[in-house]
């Protein structure tokens, strides 16, 4: 039933036959109707978990029940989730633009953020970004802090920070390089801190990830701060990698065929930029 995924649109030969699509739609419709009736007619399943969370909230170190679940009661989930994010970052890194594809003046792998002075000046955009980016960073700090008592926390804060990074990169003025040592530290600091805390508290309480009562609040804040930095860096790395993938015209050899060392010498930055704007994914 599944055909090979295709990239060419407007190609009706790749579509499934009409009868098969009708069959799929009917089967999925029947499945959906069954699920809807099962869910609506079913008794409300009463769970003891919300009451349990409310009872133990005073021991968690935070006042927001969602944060308490995420970082105390079920912190294994969050630990593994940061592990998943780091795995994606590791998959992204070999494909990121560590070579000077876009900015030929930047020596690859030296600094996380570098200013592109040759970028075309867009005064209203720059004036806006000079206000927006510091405000987003302050807002991310507030979101991180307020996660202890109100909706907020590491993921929201990290998403905001990554958004600030995407804005900075879209303006063309700032360039991120994720093979620098600072970037590697940022990408991994969330998981490193989390694992160190998990093992560290095991020496006092005897159980991995069970925080001592009086230390729960500062430990959660420490983990969340480190996780925020890592999540922001990983999301920005993913954006950076996907947005700078180049699709050259068919006459040129693929960028993936060349050795990384030869890449910066052979690919002219203007051509790369043009082909990117013509065919590349629009951010």
């Amino acid at each position: 039933m599944f055909k090979t995924p295709e990239f060419k649109e407007n190609n009706h030969a790749n579509e499934l036959p009409f009868a098969t699509r009708i069959l799929c739609a009917t089967a999925i419709g029947a499945l959906g109707l069954g699920l809807i009736f099962a869910l609506i007619l079913s008794e409300n399943i009463s769970s003891s978990l919300p009451a349990l969370v409310q009872q133990n909230l005073t021991q968690s170190g935070v006042q927001n029940p969602v944060t308490a679940v995420l970082l105390n009661f079920r912190s294994y989930d969050t630990l593994l989730e940061i592990g998943v994010l780091l795995t994606v970052a590791i998959a992204m890194l070999p494909n990121s633009n560590f070579n000077s594809d876009i900015n030929p003046h930047m020596p690859g792998g030296s600094r996380l953020v570098s200013v592109v002075n040759s970028a075309p000046v867009n005064p209203p955009l720059e004036a806006l970004l000079r206000w927006l980016i510091p405000m987003i960073i302050v807002m991310a700090g507030y979101m991180l802090w307020t996660g202890a008592a109100l909706p907020g926390g590491a993921f929201q804060s990290g998403a905001l920070l990554a958004g600030a990074g995407v804005l900075a990169q879209l303006s063309g003025r700032l360039q991120f390089c994720f093979t620098s040592t600072t970037a590697k530290l940022l990408l991994t600091i969330g998981l490193i801190t989390f694992v160190m805390v998990a093992v560290g508290v095991a020496t006092t309480t005897g159980v991995i990830l069970q925080y001592p009562l009086e230390l729960a609040a500062p430990l959660i804040l420490l983990i969340e701060t480190a996780a925020t930095l890592s999540i922001a860096a990983i999301l920005l790395l993913s954006y950076n990698t996907l947005a700078t993938q180049t699709f050259e015209s068919s006459s040129e050899p693929s960028v993936f065929d060349k050795q990384p060392s030869a890449l910066s010498e052979t690919s002219a930055p203007n051509e790369t930029l043009q082909s990117q704007t013509a065919e590349g994914p629009k951010p």
Binding site: M1, P5, E6, G32, P50, P65, V69, L70, T241, F256
Partner: protein, 98 residues
């Protein structure tokens, strides 16, 4: 027809649209988007069932949705990278054939 059943119908509908798209859409980007629509349907169902159990929402389900969203973003990024790779490699093999 309560408010909750409306949300349940909407979430199952989103899930169904996504499932149909995964099976039928020929373009790989559409398949990735369809998987995202499916996951949105699942998250919506989780949020609805978090709300209808108690007067206060179930924080465990909310935490699960939060975790799910982040993993879905990571999975989408990885899928997009693989799609770019498939595109590049399949174009190269086309070139070798002709």
């Amino acid at each position: 027809m309560t408010q909750e059943s409306l949300y349940i119908i909407a979430s199952i509908g989103l899930f169904g649209i996504g499932l149909y798209g995964v099976i039928v859409a020929p373009h790989i980007l559409r398949k990735i988007l369809a998987i995202n629509i499916m996951s949105v349907g699942v998250f919506m169902l989780l949020v609805v069932s978090a709300s209808n159990m108690n007067s206060t929402p179930d924080p465990v389900l909310h935490a699960m949705v939060l975790t799910g969203i982040v993993v879905a973003i990571a999975g989408t990024a990885l899928a997009l990278l693989l799609a770019v790779k498939i595109h590049t490699l399949s174009r190269d093999s086309d070139k070798d054939d002709h």
